[in-house]
Amino acid sequence: MSAAAPIKTGLFDCRDSFAATIESLAETDPRIVTVVSDSLGSSKLGGFKKRWPERMVNVGIAEQTVVAVGAGLANGGKVPFVSAAACFLTGRALEQIKADIAYSNVNVKLIGQSSGVAYGELGPTHHSIEDMAWLRLLTNLTVIVPSDPWETEQAIRAAAAMDGPVFVRVSRMPVPALERSNAKFEIGKAETLVEGDQATIIANGTMVHRAVAAAKTLAAEGIAVRVVNMSTISPLDEAAIIAASQTGAIVTVEEHNVRGGLGGAVAEVVTANTPVPMRIMGFPGFLPTGSAEWLMEQFGLTSAGIVDAVRQTIARKAKK
């Protein structure tokens, strides 16, 4: 298998998991190629290039072309993994992702690296907190936001195994490996990590481990909160959301703008089926200067912030 080493005790950079997995896949599938826009280092693909230099295509600093070349390589029988910083890959090349990849419905895998606010201090040009919103609207495109190294590996393997376009949102924020009693990954299926019936936290990506920590804190107070990892945001597991609404309160949390992303997707399902009090946690828009961790703290995207949000949302349920 392709387990990547932790960057420090108990914490992982999911890019390492991506890089190890793509090398593992490339060993047995000669169709796999990687495509970068001078984003070799930021994608941690140095090892891949050393092993298969002819199977790495670097188009230079040209995001529109890196996406379009992926479409062309798929036409030529390759399974291209197009990897670049999520902010530029999805923002600069959005029309190529729409027309060449999603609308054309081709077998291209897009890997958005260092998503969310990972590039904290570099500012909003380098943050990618809009990508879930604009990508989940594209018909045919599967959008996966893995939560930890294991799920990153599973997402990359599942993307390679399916015939069709996939976007995988990879973080560089250090995350722990989540504890799973029954680990099973399936595209389009939400994963219940903690059982509970008084409220549900629906999270994805780097927020999942914080949601689990919040649920443990609340459990100690006698509040049983379910935690659902919604790693596939398109196609959405609507049944899991409708089931979550049966707990009477939903808090969504994402490393993303509060508009249009995971929370918006959940709200679309909840309002159309079984409306319950909801709280959408995320970032309000362009962010001030600060490190990734500082931004998370500042905007309440911490386990303590999630605990508060759950309490408040349960309180709204009680008032009804």
Binding site: A62, A68, V69
Partner: protein, 279 residues
């Protein structure tokens, strides 16, 4: 079909001329019936399309996904009148289907969709998309040392899109001899002349500077198009750019070089006059 019979050049040029005439007549009928379309650009591109499909490209319309096929990417995706007509003429789908052009639920959308129609390699419509995708196809061929060729047809106004120049850089850098770009140089964009909008000249120098081999030809001369496009790619070490000097509305007197026919549609009288001229 192309290359299945060793036609002599003159026979092949005669076939291309016949097909080009048919494409002009059929595409104009489509535009007339739909009262929608881009007939000016259909007519400037017709001779290039007829030459590619009836003189140059290696393909089998019954095997549209054959890995060894030559690829054609229609980057000027608005000129579907001509593109759908040449695909029908080449045998990808029945000619009768052309009568559904842009009708509700037709497979013949205003811009081509590969999931609707065989023979369409990638969905185009927004400009500046075809060359970068064709670049990727050619790179796949280069990696595999495959012998298929990749052709892409762009408009000239379309070259104002920066994505083309991103792709031009990498194609030149990788010396992609298996890639051929044909520019439909009719000098008109939708509202004005290219040179009055964001000028492109000297266009040949630009492509040479990006590392391409450039040929400039009369884009309505079937023999010259055939010679340039069927030249052995192994004889060069660069991608090929063919600047096809054309006229918007070529073939019909009142449409000739007339910007109004970018997306103009004919009245009954204009349609009948055009059909009388296209013989």
């Amino acid at each position: 079909m192309p290359l299945t019979a060793p036609d002599r050049r003159n026979d092949r040029v005669a076939t291309i001329a016949d097909k080009a005439l048919w494409i002009r007549r059929r595409s104009f009928q489509m535009v007339y019936e739909a009262q929608l379309g881009h007939p000016g650009g259909d007519f400037s591109a017709t001779d290039v399309l007829a030459t590619l499909y009836f003189g140059v490209m290696r393909y089998d319309p019954t095997k549209p996904n054959d890995p060894g096929r030559d690829r054609f990417v229609m980057s000027k995706g608005h000129c579907t009148g001509a593109f759908y007509s040449v695909l029908a003429a080449a045998g990808y789908f029945p000619e009768a289907d052309l009568s559904s052009y842009m009708q509700p639920l037709s497979k013949l959308n205003g811009h081509p969709n590969r999931n609707y129609l065989p023979g369409v390699e990638t969905n185009t419509g927004p400009l500046g998309h075809g060359l970068p995708v064709a670049l990727g196809i050619a790179i796949a061929g280069q990696i595999d040392n495959a012998d298929f060729r990749t052709f892409v047809l762009t408009g000239d106004g379309e070259l104002q899109e920066g994505s083309n120049w991103e792709a031009a850089l990498t194609a030149g850098h990788r010396k992609l001899r298996n890639l051929t770009l044909i520019i439909d140089r009719n000098r008109l964009q939708q509202g004005a002349r290219t040179e009055e909008t964001a000028s492109l000249d000297p266009l040949d120098d630009k492509w040479r500077a990006f590392g391409w081999h450039v040929e400039m030809v009369d884009g309505h001369d079937h023999g010259k198009l055939l010679d340039v496009l069927s030249a052995d790619p192994a004889q060069r070490d660069k991608p090929l750019c063919v600047i096809a000097n054309t006229f918007k509305g070529k073939g019909v007197s009142f449409m000739h070089d007339n910007v109004a026919w970018h997306h103009g549609v004919p009245t009954k009288e204009q349609f009948e006059q055009a059909m009388a001229e296209l013989v």
